[in-house]
């Protein structure tokens, strides 16, 4: 199930027995995958390689010129650019809070919906609805108004006699409006958890009940271990998308105040397309790529300690 287990299986199945030659046809095979292969080289592989080269230059797109400057971009990024560290800080804070919140909500709601009562389909659609429009500008515009100075949240607080803060204007609160926005959109991990919950064999719960396990024990000893492959998959997907968050911050807070919501992707965009410093922006993008790769590798490595695979699954 899912992209990652497939990837893992593909990578580890290297020494499989030789298949017969049925259907073996190199020319036809490459002909069929050629659209993807061509697009991969033109729009992914070559650009990424060029991006690496650019990161060692001070290329400016307006002047269309750039000189090789060695590691200066990285030197500047790590030791001189204080905004860079503020953007790293904002991104890490966002990921650390929004990803676990999202996954906890997703799992909790999935467990609520894992029943055969009437009306569950409607609830499932309702819980998924915020996610389907999640990336849209309309939702970001709406959010900006909800947390605005005289927006919906402060209006409601006022009715209760509380004077609400300026959510978007204060460094302590602005990032939380974006974290809440992310937590609100837990639909996709929820659907994936739901499919996973349906796959847990019923007899496990039945025998646990006979043994006198209470519902907390059943959750900790059966549900959680059986779900670990899915938690693993959701964790990786949410981490990656969390690090790339852009639109919401671009519209709701514009990186303000005091750069507390200047997420990494937003800062790369500003450097590349507002200040035209494409060399420097490429260096930043490459650091992001390396961090995501390392983090993914780390989660993959750690998975052998906490991800539970059924023993007879590989048959």
């Amino acid at each position: 199930m899912g992209v990652l287990p497939m990837a893992a299986a593909t990578l580890t199945k290297g020494k499989r027995r030789r298949r017969s030659n049925f259907g073996q046809d190199n020319l036809v095979g490459y002909l069929f995958i050629s659209p993807w292969l061509i697009a991969f080289f033109l729009f992914t592989f070559i650009p990424i390689s060029v991006s690496l080269i650019l990161s060692f230059t001070d290329y400016n797109v307006l002047a269309n010129s750039g000189d090789f400057i060695g590691l200066d971009n990285f030197q500047r990024m790590f030791f001189e650019d204080r905004r860079y560290w503020r953007s790293v800080n904002a991104t890490v804070k966002y990921v650390v809070f929004s990803v676990p919140l999202r996954l906890v909500f997703a799992l909790a709601v999935a467990m609520l919906l894992n029943t055969y009562r009437r009306g569950v389909g409607v609830y499932r659609a309702a819980f998924y609805a915020p996610s389907i429009i999640g990336g849209s500008i309309a939702v970001a515009v709406m959010w900006r108004e909800i947390f605005g100075n005289d927006g919906l949240v402060n209006f409601t607080l006022n009715l209760l006699g509380i004077e609400g803060p300026n959510w978007l204007g204060r460094p302590e609160t602005a990032i939380w409006t974006l974290i809440i926005l992310a937590a609100w959109q837990f639909g996709s991990p929820m659907l994936i958890f739901l499919a996973g919950l349906k796959n847990i064999p019923k007899h496990l719960y039945e025998s646990a009940e006979i043994d006198g396990a209470n519902s907390l024990q059943r959750f900790l000893r059966i549900t959680l271990p059986m779900l670990t492959p899915i938690i693993f998959f959701n964790l990786i997907m949410q981490l990656i998308s969390g690090f790339m968050v852009f639109t919401q911050a671009f519209i709701v807070t514009q990186g303000r105040p005091l750069d507390t919501t200047l997420f990494y992707a937003l800062y790369v965009y500003r450097r590349a397309f507002e200040q035209n410093e494409m060399g420097y922006a490429s260096a930043m993008a490459w650091v992001m790529l390396m961090v995501i790769a390392l983090l993914t590798a780390f989660v993959f490595r750690s998975s052998s300690y906490w991800v539970h695979y059924e023993a007879d699954e590989g048959s």
Binding site: G23, V28, L37, F43, P47, L112, I132, R144, L152, A293
Partner: protein
């Protein structure tokens, strides 16, 4: 269960499970009511912002601020919609919707048709290096856009393609890794017997694809097309970089300019256009919900 056990004939040697009568709040009926109350209320809060947006788009200007929490306006004021539709700088939302529809439709056709051809190659043809390319394709799912977009921009700018749709559409000729993966999974569930029968009849791989596989791919293609359409509809970063003149704006870009707090103060119109931009997505979501849920839960597609 308890009822059946109670009616079992007396004198059986098997030990009888005797359950004490449940307190009222644990009886099935009560539990069902609790369940619907709890989940229903949570649902209401989840959907409240969306309903609030739609409600506010029908409120007259003064009511937006004085009757803020209400979902149903006191005075029904549809005038916000024509006001908003007029757009900005002499360009109405007719242009933006036309652009978005053009881009989302053409982009979807390109990306889904290419994806199904490529998926067939991966799923049904054995060739040297297949496993490696498949792994490479999965890895591309994790690449941040930022590492690809800067060199792409430089090249497209040199070609003079800024303010055209080429930079947005061309990268789609290879399909999308997500859809390729999804369709591969689908093709693998189709029995190979038909392929083999067609092959014995002398059909080529291409003939098998056209006449045997493609007709059976409809559900997978519909799912991919829906996702593709609504991701394209919501796309923001790439159009933001390449489309700078307002006549080419997509709805997403137009909405951003239209709602700029420094320029626009007609919040009713902003809400109206925001709510309207969600409409196509919701219509598709409601009519094809089954396909969407299936697509996400079987392949782990992001939503």
């Amino acid at each position: 269960m308890a009822g059946i056990e109670a009616q079992a004939p007396a004198g059986l040697s098997a030990p009888r499970v005797i359950r004490p009568a449940l307190p009222w709040y644990q009886r099935p009926m009560a539990r069902t009511i609790f369940y619907h109350a709890a989940v229903g209320v949570t649902c209401f809060f989840m959907l409240y912002p969306i309903m609030w947006l739609v409600g506010s788009s029908f409120k007259p200007p003064d009511e937006i601020w004085t009757n803020q929490t209400a979902i149903i306006p006191k005075e029904f004021y549809p005038q916000n919609y024509p006001n908003g539709w007029a757009g900005f700088g002499g360009i109405s939302f007719t242009t933006f919707y036309r652009n978005s529809l053009f881009y989302a439709t053409l982009g979807t056709i390109l990306s889904v048709s290419a994806s199904s051809v490529v998926a067939y190659g991966f799923a049904r043809v054995r060739f040297r290096g297949r496993r490696i390319w498949f792994a490479v394709m999965l890895v591309t799912l994790m690449l941040p856009t930022q590492v690809q977009i800067i060199p792409q921009y430089i090249v497209f700018k040199q070609l003079g393609w800024l303010n055209t749709f080429y930079p947005l559409l061309l990268p789609r000729i290879g399909g999308s890794a997500f859809f390729i993966f999804m369709i591969i999974q689908f093709i693998r569930s189709i029995p190979v017997d038909l392929d083999e029968a067609a092959m014995i009849d002398g059909a080529s791989k291409f003939g098998i694809f056209l006449r045997v596989i493609l007709p059976q791919l409809t559900p997978a293609i519909i799912t991919a097309a829906i996702f593709s359409f609504y991701w394209t509809w919501d796309e923001f970063l790439v159009p933001l970089i390449y489309l700078n003149s307002p006549e080419l704006y997509l709805v997403s870009l137009a909405l951003r300019t239209f709602s700029d707090p420094s320029g626009q103060t007609d919040w009713g119109a902003i809400f109206a256009m925001s709510a309207l931009s969600l409409l196509p997505v919701f219509v598709i979501f409601i009519s094809f919900q089954r396909y969407l849920v299936e697509g996400i839960s079987t392949t782990g597609l992001k939503g």
